[in-house]
Symmetry: D3
Subunit: 117 residues, 6 copies
């Protein structure tokens, strides 16, 4: 995998482990909800991950964007579909989203490059 | 149609007309982009409207929520699908979204009631 | 009770009932978490409600502010304590918070007036 | 004056008076800073009020928008200048700003109509 | 002290010094207000720092979070109390807060480790 | 040029090129609007760049702040003018803006140092 992906996953895993060691019951319930919310249901995983991505982009959280880009990639979202998600995020959130969009494109490229190696 | 829907549409139409009378070229281009972005493309209208809705909910704009709820209704989104969009919005945006979620449920109910009259 | 308080409580109760009738399991779990989070624990209810209030003020949600003002009032927070919460909210969130602060003062006054009737 | 302007000014004055009666020293200092910040200085009042307006629009606070629109009107900002402020706000803040832009246009119209009566 | 703490404090001190050298009177007054607001008063320092922390978390500013974590540590806040602040921040602000919560846990750990050395 | 400026410009150019290679028509239109919006018009470039800067500061986007600081520098904005923009951003956006203000001062210093070399 690429460096951006490795770094993101390594830190996320390390700190999520630490959180599970130290958090109280409510926090653990909140994290459990965060998992079940994106499970296949009335909407499929692909749609839900696009929803998570666009929400993360307009709220401008790079780590959340990376996480959902990874899940979108696993769900098989294609380039032209991803561009339409990117456009909605830029339009709704405004040009303030552009720096996060730049980093999203870089991460999305790295996700797609790993496939071809 | 119900009162919430009527009021929203009437004011939106009145002021959009006024904007088209007074705005400069860039603003008109921005409004045009706002329309073409949600057109059927690599993603269908239904998916795009759910993306617009979840973005509007986490950014907590009641008018934007009403607009996309109307479009979601026209696109045939079902109750259990809508609940999963609502859940992602509440989860990502937090409990601060709840008052907007309450008003969204009220508006969604009114949209669905008009059908049965 | 005063009119602002009555209107807020009536709409909140009506829509929360409607949500409990229509929501999916995850949404209900999220609402349950919203309740247990503010229960007496390592921090007492008074402190937690001040935390909920300041978070609501910097995120500028009038309904959330009203809700936590009501709970702060029940928890016995005094005027000079409330003013220090208000100041932290104005300082951290900036002058954009001021219109919400105005409405908070009006609601806080109504909460305190009901006592003296 | 028009009804929107009257209502805004009346409530703002009433609650600012109440705040001056009840607030602590830090809050009063913060309000004083809010006044001196927009005074004529290295930048003139007109420029500062446009800065206050665009900040209020991207943060989407209707009351703050009304306040700075009033001050912009007093400072003699012309329609084509105002449209360029509106465009920057819509562009940077995104389509989520549009409902606030609609209400801003309505208020700006009312400000300009009072002149011609 | 740990590396995260050292880096944060060094940069903050360097730039605050630079700001005091270059800023205008209003900015200096604003910084002074930022100090006096958290002083012991009707609410004690511990409570105020928790209020500053939760506000910083829902607004998702890592540097502000680090600053208030340091002050909370100095004020003697215990692990189970901190977890309840963390929960309120995650609940009110939503899952978009989680990446900031991860970094907060890492910083809080470093603050607590320095004690045992 | 200084290191902060070089790094910002290099990454921005690289990713904007990549975006132009991969984006759809709507995204390209949005980027075109982002350029034309700041062109000389009813308001001059200097005023527009200050508007872009203050909007970027209250929305707390470091990259957007750097971009507009660079443009403000090119437009000849003086230190005491810049301090008044900084103050409005801190006042409206609150103390949560301060960490971004620190980085803005560092970048503004680097922009001004290049002149004297």
């Amino acid at each position: 995998m690429g460096k951006l992906i490795d770094d993101f996953n390594a830190y996320r895993t390390k700190m999520n482990d630490r959180i599970m060691d130290t958090a109280n019951t409510n926090i653990k319930r909140f994290f459990a909800l965060d998992t079940t919310t994106y499970a296949d249901g009335a909407l499929d995983v692909k749609t839900k991950e696009m929803l998570g991505l666009v929400a993360s982009m307009v709220l401008r959280c790079d780590d959340c964007i990376k996480y959902h880009l990874g899940k979108c990639y696993e769900a098989g979202i294609k380039h032209d579909e991803m561009n339409e998600v990117f456009m909605i995020a830029n339009l709704v959130g405004g040009s303030i989203v552009i720096p996060h969009y730049r980093r999203a494109v870089e991460y999305w490229d790295e996700l797609n490059e790993q496939q071809t190696v």
